[in-house]
Subunit: 339 residues, 2 copies
DNA sequence: CTGAAAGCGCTTACAG
DNA sequence: CTGAAAGCGCTTACAG
C-alpha cells in the first residue's frame, strides 16, 4: 500500500525545499530547468496529485457545487442533476448532493452542513414543507454570507437570487387551450395542494384558459391531491360522476393514475376522455396509451442553473445583486392520450 | 453581508488566543468557566460554525462518500443513491456524486479527481465500457492508496473489495422457473450484450432453468440488445416469427418495449404471451399491463453499501483485506403481465 | 535560482 | 487557566 505522496515527501526525497517542488510542478520559470525536470519526473513517477482539500483551504474555493433537492428517485430531478453535472464536469467542478426528503428540517440541516466551507455555491429546489411554512431564513443566511444560490423549479418570490424556471402558468394555459381546440369543454384538473408553488401556477393557467374561452369554471372538476397513495378513490369518483371530456394533470403520476382508474371503471383514454400532463418523464412515454405532456426540459434547466452558478463564481463576483430569472421554454409533446 | 466568522476573528474580538477559543468551543475543561461561557456566547451570537475544509485537512478525513455510477436518470441507480444517502446522513456523511456516463475515461477521471483528498471512500458501479475493456487499474490504484471501495451491482471478480450484489443468476433462474411452472415452454430471452456482468449472469440463470426442466435451448429465442433505440425491430421480428409463450427481459425497458411492440402487431400480454422482467422500477408499476418483476432492492443495496463503507472507515481500519460480498435477497413481484 | 516564512482555519501536545 | 507552537498540504510574496 503506497499512500498518496505529498510535496513534503518529494522535497525530502530530492533534498530540496517544498517551495521548489511546488514551483517546479506548477512549471514556474523561477526554477532552473534541471531541478524543474527532475522534480517533475519524480512526481510523475510517484503519481503525485495535489491534495484537493489543501488547495481548497488555500484558495478559499472548493470547486464544488452543492445541490439540494426534495428527492432523487424522481425522473425530473434526476434529469436536472444530470444537466448540472454535465456543465459542472466541463468546468472542473464536482457536485455534492443532499436530499431534503421534502422536509424543512433536513433542508436546513443540509444547507448548514454544506455552507461551512464544503462548497462554493448552491443549486436548489425547495422542499414542500419549506414552501408550506414560508420560512426561508436558512437561504437568506447563506446568501448574506456571500454564497451564491440558484433556485430552480420550486422557487419563491421571497428570496432574491438567480432562478431557473419554466412559465408554469403559461404552459398550463397552452396545454388546456390545446384541449379546448380539440373541442373539449368539460375539463377536469388534477393538481397538488396549493402551497406547492408550481402546482398553484399550473392551476392558475388552467383557470385562465377556461376564462378566456368562456367556459364556465366548475369547482367540482378540480381535485387537489395531497397523497398519491390514496388518490385513486378521489379520481375514480371524479371520472364516474362527472362525464368529463378531458383531464389536465399537473404531473404524469396523476395522469397515469387517471388512465388506470378509468380502465377499471370501463372507460378508455383517449376515446372517452383525453389526458394531458405536466412533466415529460419516463411514464408518459411508456404508459398505454402514451401520454401527451408539457415538456419540462430538466436537462436544460440543470445546464442553465449550473452555468449561472459558475458564472457568478468565476466572474469576480462583480455585479452583485443583479439577479436574473431564466425561463426555459416548454412545448407540448403530443402522444396517444389526446388523439 | 456578514461573512463567516473564524476562530481568529473571535479570538481577536475577545482578546484571547485562538487556542483558548478553540478549546472553549469544544467545551474543554482546561479553560476557566468564565472565559469558556463568554466565548461560547459570542460564538453563538455570530453563528460560528467550524470550517469543514480546515477540519478535513487537520483530521485527514472528509466525512464524505464518493459515488460513481453510470447514470443517474435511471430508477435503479437513483434508488441506490437514495439508500446511500439515508445512512450517510444518519452518520453525518455527505455524498458527492460523479457520473461515468458509461464511459471508461470519465470513470477514471472522476475517480482520480475524488481520490485526491475529497472523499474518504468510494461506492461505485462499473461503467459498461470499463466492463468491456476489463481495465480496472484506476480502482486498484485507489485501493492501494488505502482508500476503501465498495462495489455494487455491476462488479468484477478481478478486484478484491467489499461488494453488494443480488444473486443475478439465481433470481433469473427463479423468474424463468415461475414461467415454466405456469406451463410456458417457448420462453424468449431479451438481454444485453454479454460484457455487462449482470446481463451475462441473468442469461446464465435463464439457460440453467431451461436445462433443469429439460426444455430445449434455442438460440433463436435469445436476442441481445445493444442499443435501446433500435431494438423495436429486432423484438418485433422475434414476436412475429417465433410464436413464443413468454419473454424474460433483463430490464423493464426491454419488457415494456416487448409489450408495446406486441400490441402493434396485434398480440396482447398476457393473453398471447407472458412477460417477466428484472428491475422493479416505475415503468413496471405503471405500464399496461403492469409487469411482473424481480425486485432489485436498490434502497437496501444502497443502505448496505453505505453501512459497509462507513464501518470500514470508522472501525480503525483493523481487519484489512478481509472483504465480504453481501448478497441482497430478491423476490418476484407478480403483476398482470404473467396472469 | 532556491528557500524560509506566512498563511488558509483548525486542533492539540506542551510550556508556563 | 491561558497561550505559543507545530502541523494538516498547499501556494506565493519576499529574501538572499
Amino acid at each position: 500500500m503506497k499512500r498518496k505522496v505529498t510535496l513534503k515527501q518529494i522535497a525530502k526525497e530530492l533534498d530540496v525545499s517544498i517551495s521548489t517542488v511546488s514551483k517546479s510542478l506548477r512549471n514556474s520559470l523561477e526554477i532552473g530547468e534541471e531541478t524543474r525536470l527532475k522534480v517533475q519526473a519524480f512526481a510523475k513517477f510517484y503519481n503525485y496529485k495535489p491534495n484537493n482539500i489543501a488547495l481548497s483551504l488555500k484558495n478559499k474555493k472548493t470547486k464544488t457545487i452543492g445541490i439540494i433537492i426534495p428527492e432523487i428517485v424522481h425522473h425530473f430531478f434526476s434529469t436536472v442533476i444530470n444537466g448540472i453535472e454535465q456543465v459542472a464536469n466541463e468546468f472542473g467542478y464536482s457536485v455534492i448532493i443532499c436530499l431534503s426528503d421534502d422536509s424543512f428540517e433536513k433542508e436546513v440541516r443540509n444547507m448548514e452542513m454544506l455552507a461551512n466551507g464544503s462548497i462554493d455555491g448552491f443549486i436548489m429546489s425547495l422542499s414542500k414543507e419549506t414552501q408550506l411554512k414560508g420560512d426561508f431564513h436558512h437561504i437568506t443566511e447563506v446568501i448574506n454570507q456571500g454564497m451564491p444560490v440558484i433556485m430552480f423549479d420550486r422557487v419563491t418570490n421571497e428570496i432574491l437570487c438567480d432562478k431557473v424556471i419554466i412559465d408554469d402558468k403559461y404552459a398550463a394555459y397552452e396545454a388546456v387551450q390545446s384541449l379546448i381546440d380539440k373541442g373539449k369543454k368539460k375539463i377536469a384538473l388534477v393538481t397538488t395542494v396549493d402551497y406547492v408553488s408550481v402546482g398553484k401556477l399550473r392551476t392558475d393557467g388552467y383557470t385562465k384558459a377556461l376564462l378566456d374561452n368562456n367556459i364556465p369554471f366548475d369547482d367540482n372538476l378540480i381535485i387537489k391531491i395531497e397523497n398519491i397513495d390514496t388518490c385513486e378513490i378521489i379520481i375514480g369518483k371524479l371520472l364516474e360522476d362527472k362525464a368529463i371530456d378531458a383531464v389536465f394533470a399537473v404531473n404524469e403520476l396523476f395522469a397515469v393514475t387517471c388512465i388506470k382508474t378509468a380502465n377499471k371503471i370501463g372507460l378508455t383514454v383517449p376515446q372517452d376522455f383525453a389526458v394531458i400532463a405536466f412533466t415529460d418523464g419516463i411514464i408518459s412515454k411508456y404508459s398505454t396509451p402514451t401520454i401527451t405532456t408539457v415538456s419540462q426540459n430538466g436537462l436544460k434547466m440543470g445546464n442553465k442553473a449550473a452555468k449561472m452558478l459558475i458564472d457568478r463564481l468565476e466572474l469576480e463576483e462583480t455585479e452583485e445583486e443583479n439577479y436574473t430569472t431564466e425561463v426555459i421554454e416548454t412545448y407540448l409533446i403530443e402522444r396517444e392520450s389526446t388523439n
